[in-house]
Symmetry: C2
Subunit: 325 residues, 2 copies
C-alpha cells in the first residue's frame, strides 16, 4: 500500500531540521537536532534516528511512512555516505555511512544526497520543475551548488559527485582564487561571497566613482548591501549585478551545450535579486549559447520557500524510495 508520509531531513552546518511531509508537499510536523554536538557520525546518526522515531510515534504515523530522505553537505547518493564535509566536525576526514545507520535505527529505507540535488528534487516534485524531465537547479548561496536532472533522472555520476558546477571555470580560467585551491571557479563570481568580492574590486578599480557602497566602512560589504544599494538605484551596485549575471549567463551557455535543459532554476539568497540578476544573465546566455539551442532554455527564479525547500527536496528522495522498495 502507498504510504502517506515521508521524512525530510535537512542537515545544515549547525542544526539538522526534520519534517514530516505529506504527498502535497505540506510540512506537517517539525523537529530538530544539533549537527555539531557529537563526536562521531554514529552518535549523531543515533540522535537523529531517535528524534525521527519519536516524531513518528508521537504523531501516530507508524507504518505509514515511505522512508527518510536527507539533504547533506557532500552527501554521496550512490553509497549513502557523507565524506570530506569541511564544516561537519565528525565527517571532516572519515566517510560516515549515514544512510545505513539511520535506516537500521529507524527501520525505514533511507537515502541521502547533497543539498543542491535535494533542491532539484524539491523543484521537480513540488516546485517550478514539476513535469520537466531536463532542468538544472543552481543554488546561489555562500557558494554555487547545482543539481542536474536529465531524462527525468538526477545526474550523480559514477562516484556520486556529479554536478559541481560551482567549480567549472568556463569564464575566467585564470581568475579569482577559489576555496577549492584552484582559480577562476564560477562560484568565486556567482555567489553571495562572489558579489561581495566584486563590490570590493569595483570600489578599488573606480576610486573616483560615487556609490552608496563606499559609506559601508565599519564592516565588510555583503551581497545584501549590494542588493539594497542596487534597489535604490545605485549605479555601481547595479553594475555589480550586471557583471555577476553576465558571467553566470556565459557559464549557462556551456551548461546548455552539455545537457540542453528546458529550464535553469535559480534558488537561494542571491536569486532574490530577481531582474537585477536575471536580465543581464539572460542577455549573456542568449548571446553565448549555440544557435541550435537559442531561446529554448527558460530562466526561472524558484518560488519555493527557502526555509522549506531543503526538507521538501529531501522528502522527495523518500517518495522515490517508496517506489523502488
Amino acid at each position: 500500500m502507498d504510504k502517506s508520509y515521508a521524512i525530510g531531513v535537512d542537515m545544515g552546518g549547525t542544526n539538522t531540521a526534520i519534517g514530516v511531509v505529506d504527498r502535497r508537499g505540506e510540512i506537517l510536523f517539525r523537529s530538530s537536532v544539533s549537527t555539531v554536538d557529537y563526536n562521531t557520525g554514529e552518535s549523531y546518526a543515533e540522535a537523529l534516528s531517535a528524534t525521527i522515531n519519536e516524531l513518528i510515534s508521537r504523531n501516530n504515523f507508524t507504518g505509514n511512512v515511505a522512508g527518510v530522505g536527507m539533504g547533506v553537505p557532500n552527501g554521496n547518493m550512490n553509497d549513502g555516505t557523507v565524506e570530506r564535509a569541511a564544516n561537519i566536525p565528525w565527517a571532516k576526514t572519515v566517510a560516515v555511512p549515514l544512510a545505513a545507520i539511520v535506516s537500521e535505527k529507524t527501520g525505514l529505507p533511507c537515502k541521502l544526497t547533497n543539498d543542491a540535488n535535494a533542491a532539484a528534487l524539491g523543484e521537480m516534485v513540488y516546485g517550478a520543475a514539476k513535469g520537466l524531465k531536463d532542468f538544472i537547479v543552481i543554488t546561489l548561496g555562500t557558494g554555487l551548488g547545482s543539481g542536474i536532472v536529465a531524462g527525468g533522472q538526477l545526474i550523480v555520476g559514477h562516484d556520486g559527485f556529479a554536478g559541481e558546477l560551482g567549480h567549472v571555470r568556463t569564464v575566467r580560467h585564470n581568475g579569482r582564487l577559489c576555496g577549492c585551491g584552484r582559480t577562476g571557479c564560477l562560484e568565486t563570481y556567482a555567489s553571495a561571497t562572489g558579489v561581495a568580492r566584486t563590490a570590493r574590486e569595483f570600489l578599488e578599480i573606480y576610486p573616483e566613482r560615487e556609490t552608496l557602497l563606499r559609506s559601508i566602512t565599519s564592516r565588510p560589504i555583503t551581497s545584501k548591501d549590494v542588493f539594497e544599494a542596487a534597489r535604490s538605484g545605485d549605479r555601481m551596485a547595479i553594475e555589480i549585478f550586471e557583471f555577476t549575471g553576465r558571467i553566470l549567463g556565459e557559464a549557462f551557455a556551456d551548461f546548455i551545450a552539455f545537457s540542453s535543459p528546458k529550464a535553469i532554476i535559480l534558488f537561494g539568497g542571491l536569486a532574490h535579486a530577481g531582474n537585477l540578476l536575471t536580465e543581464p544573465l539572460k542577455e549573456a546566455m542568449d548571446k553565448n549559447v549555440i544557435s541550435i539551442c537559442k531561446g529554448k532554455t527558460e530562466i526561472i527564479v524558484s518560488q519555493l520557500n527557502d526555509g522549506e525547500v531543503a526538507i521538501l527536496g529531501a522528502s522527495a528522495l523518500a517518495w522515490e524510495l517508496s517506489v523502488t522498495n
Copy 2:
C-alpha cells in the same frame, strides 16, 4: 520472442552504410545508398527503406529483425527528425521525419540519433564502455562531437540537442573563430582541423624554429602531417599535440564537474595519435580537476574499428527498441 538481428544505418555526408548486426556485434551483411543523390528527404528515405527491405529478404531475416537504428548528422532522437544538417542537401532548411518514414516503409521500429550519440551507444554495447553507466565519448574528427551517458542513459536534453561539447568555450573564451559563428569553441582547437590550425599558427609564431612541417608548402598542412612528423620526433609537431591535449584536458576537468564520468573515451582520427595526445591531456586534466574527483576518471582510446562503430552504435539503438517495443 527476442529478435536476433538489428539494422544499423550510418548516414554520412556522401554515402549511407547499412549493416545487419547480430547480438555479439558482428556485421553480417552490408549495403549502401547515396546520401546526396536525392532531392527530398522522402525520396532518400524511400530508397534507404527499399535497400533495407531487400537486405533483409535476400538473407532470410524477415521476422527476425529487432528494428532499425540510425546515426545521422544533427539527428534528433526525441522526435526522429533530421534538421539543419548543413551538409545534407535535402535537410538544410527543413526538418525531415526520417525515422517515421523508414519505420512506415520497412514495417520495423526505427530510432535515430546523431553520430556521436551512436558512437557512445556502440561503446556501451560492444566496446570500452561495456558495463559502465557513466561515461562520455568524444569523437575527434573534422570537428569534436560528444555522446554523454549518465546513469546508464544517453543524455539527449529536452530538445534532443544535448551533448554539443565541441562548442563549449571552457578554455579560450575569446579564441579562434568557429564555424558556428562564435569564438573559442573547443573544436576549433581539439579536432583534426584544430590541430592543422595550430600547426599553421605555430609556424607563423616561431619563424626561426626548424621543423619537418615547414617543408610542406604545396598543399595545406593536415593533422596527419603533424602526427607523422611527431612520430618521427619532430619537436614542434610534438608540441602541437601537447598544446591540443592540454586544452582538451582542461575542458575535460569541467566535464567531470558536470557529470563525473568513470571514463572518457576518445574516438576518431585524432584519437589514433595515442600517447602523443593522451599524455598531455591526462596531465592537464589531473591538474585542473576538482580535488574530490581527482584520479577517478579514466581516459580510454576506443578500440572499435572506425569503419564499423557507426553501424554498430546505430544498431545498438535498435536493440533498445526491441526492449521497449
